[in-house]
Subunit: 420 residues, 2 copies
Amino acid sequence: MGNVGSEVVRILQDHAADLAARVGAPLVLRGVAVRDLSKDRGIDADLLTTDVHGLVARDDVDLVVEVLGGIEPARELILSALNAGKSVVTANKALLAEYTGELAASAERHRADLYFEAAVAGAIPVVRPLMQSLAGDRVDRVIGIVNGTTNFILSAMDETGADYAETLAEAGRLGYAEADPTADVEGYDAAAKAAILASLAFHTRVTSADVHREGISSITADDLATAKAFDCTVKLLALCERVVEDGTERISVRVYPALLPLSHPLARVSGAFNAVVVEAEAAGQLMFYGQGAGGGPTASAVMGDLVMAARNKFFGGRGPGESTYAELPIAPMGDTPTRYHVNMQVEDRAGVLSAVAAEFAKNGVSISTVRQEGASDCARLVVVTHRAKESALAATVAALSDLDIVGAVTSVLRLEGTSE
Amino acid sequence: MGNVGSEVVRILQDHAADLAARVGAPLVLRGVAVRDLSKDRGIDADLLTTDVHGLVARDDVDLVVEVLGGIEPARELILSALNAGKSVVTANKALLAEYTGELAASAERHRADLYFEAAVAGAIPVVRPLMQSLAGDRVDRVIGIVNGTTNFILSAMDETGADYAETLAEAGRLGYAEADPTADVEGYDAAAKAAILASLAFHTRVTSADVHREGISSITADDLATAKAFDCTVKLLALCERVVEDGTERISVRVYPALLPLSHPLARVSGAFNAVVVEAEAAGQLMFYGQGAGGGPTASAVMGDLVMAARNKFFGGRGPGESTYAELPIAPMGDTPTRYHVNMQVEDRAGVLSAVAAEFAKNGVSISTVRQEGASDCARLVVVTHRAKESALAATVAALSDLDIVGAVTSVLRLEGTSE
């Protein structure tokens, strides 16, 4: 009965008649596992228990909602429920991104539903659309803003011009960042969600370990200012892409802060909001937008799953389970193509641009735009590339750093969401 | 084999292996009904037939896709399929907005699926999210831009300042408006979609006849200019709202052009794109955005439904059917509360504002903002109201028109998408 659990209980009680009509049978709350029985939670005390294993095992329990978070005991509780043929609704992205295979196999074996709409982007329907609505299409790319804390911080930095540390502190004061913000700001939360999204989009099992992950803690006010100069903003993106090279298909799944043109639909997603863009062969570009966290929004997703799982129990049938038939290999980060903004300090004299351009050319990285600033001894040069592999860009940056005329490569940011 | 049908056939053929893996069994194309057998359609001629009734009745046909449009013979074909226990996927909004009851009852009786994601907003998943993802939440409002033709015209008028007739002609030349654009510009298409959305959102049977409908043909360049002056734009909206008054719940379903603040997520939906905003008690505000028409996008939605219906056939079970248990009454338009922009020509002298304000007060319509323009004999006055019932506003406008100091009430536009 934390934020989400309390809201689930409230909806079960306040909307019992509606839910019964939608399921075809009443949804009866059999019990709630809590840590502390002494707290008044505004519900019948007989429903509360600290014996979570006993509650899940009860014969009169058909459906289990898991909103504990973390790996254990969530994993063993979900497994014991599924093994007993009970359907499970969970919001546990960290668990799913690690153990979906084991959990899904158990659901399959025992013909139970394992639903997890709430695990990605809170109230925003994105799991069900990917699994069902797009089941007849070919998804090429998913780009999402799936972490509210980092989006709040980056939006605030963009608006105020303040630096990262200051803005993180402010986010903490306002309740948008936790006391230990590591899981959010270092991209672990987004990476778990990216793994789930990629699994669904590409019918391939993807775990957190497959996700290339970079956080936002090294983003500076200067990065935001540069972005603005190029009509861009900086967002922490979860990217899932189909990479086709010489007829071979692989997928790339990555989380990092990147420049995004202001004209891209995700650029306007500010504050703690989440949004996911899906690009598919027939559907074209779709966007799903809403509140990605919080008790109410997460409970909305849990309740949708719960009603569907209950209907299946009552009428027979199951929702679609895990689909991993495609088994596409994960492309290593070095093989992943994208575009880049390379910022450097260079000597302010003739011939610099030509020397810099030569290094890009040598490594097969094609330049799209160049912008030179300042007329002091040490000028600033920003090079925007066309699409190139990470490995080629890394070799270019190494070569540039060795040039006498280049003081330093001060930042490299990827540029996403452009057609070329 | 029109736009949508051809694309469905293409996907069935190009992605047969993927579809088989997702369904659990191959999706075999048994036949396609066409009007003209002599056209080369790039598929095995043996699959084509003009005998549409015979094709639907064949024993080896388990699933039927209907993309004919129109009421008959679509209605009788769908009924005969459902009555034979065959699941049906349709994109036919006009039919659904009229005959869902009959079709859904047949699907229920024969335990078949009747899926229609493609009937509203093309590729954008909105039917399934409303029916399933939000099944445990309480939807308060759905606001959608669900007609691409009118959105293209209004976006173009907003950008160019051109008038309606000129922009409609341009839309026709570019292929965004049909030769007879009535169904689009007079709001019939949007009204059918509004009826479907309201049925799903409020678990109440709503047909086209329940929808208050106004088109965009009387929108002027001047309306767009006024909108801009108030940081708004004009959109043709499909609105489905829960109206609670003195503890009684009713629903209001309407389609009309209205002012929308530029800060509203739908204001940025331009050109032929569609978007639907759903506001629910627990979920908060959600938005779904994408291509609302065209062969590819519509086929994507059809194919998602087809895969799900096929899975159900193969594994047993059914998707949720029609849900009309709530049976909420439709509020008459006069009882529907919203906000208004009232434009009038008034004499430019002292006391005018006070006399005008008195008429609003007499009818219980509270004024939010007043803007007076011009210093000629005949000034322009724009009054923006707080929320008031249509009947009260109509009485106010009648009273204003009778005032000597008011030359004319030149336009009344509703204002939607604001919190107050």
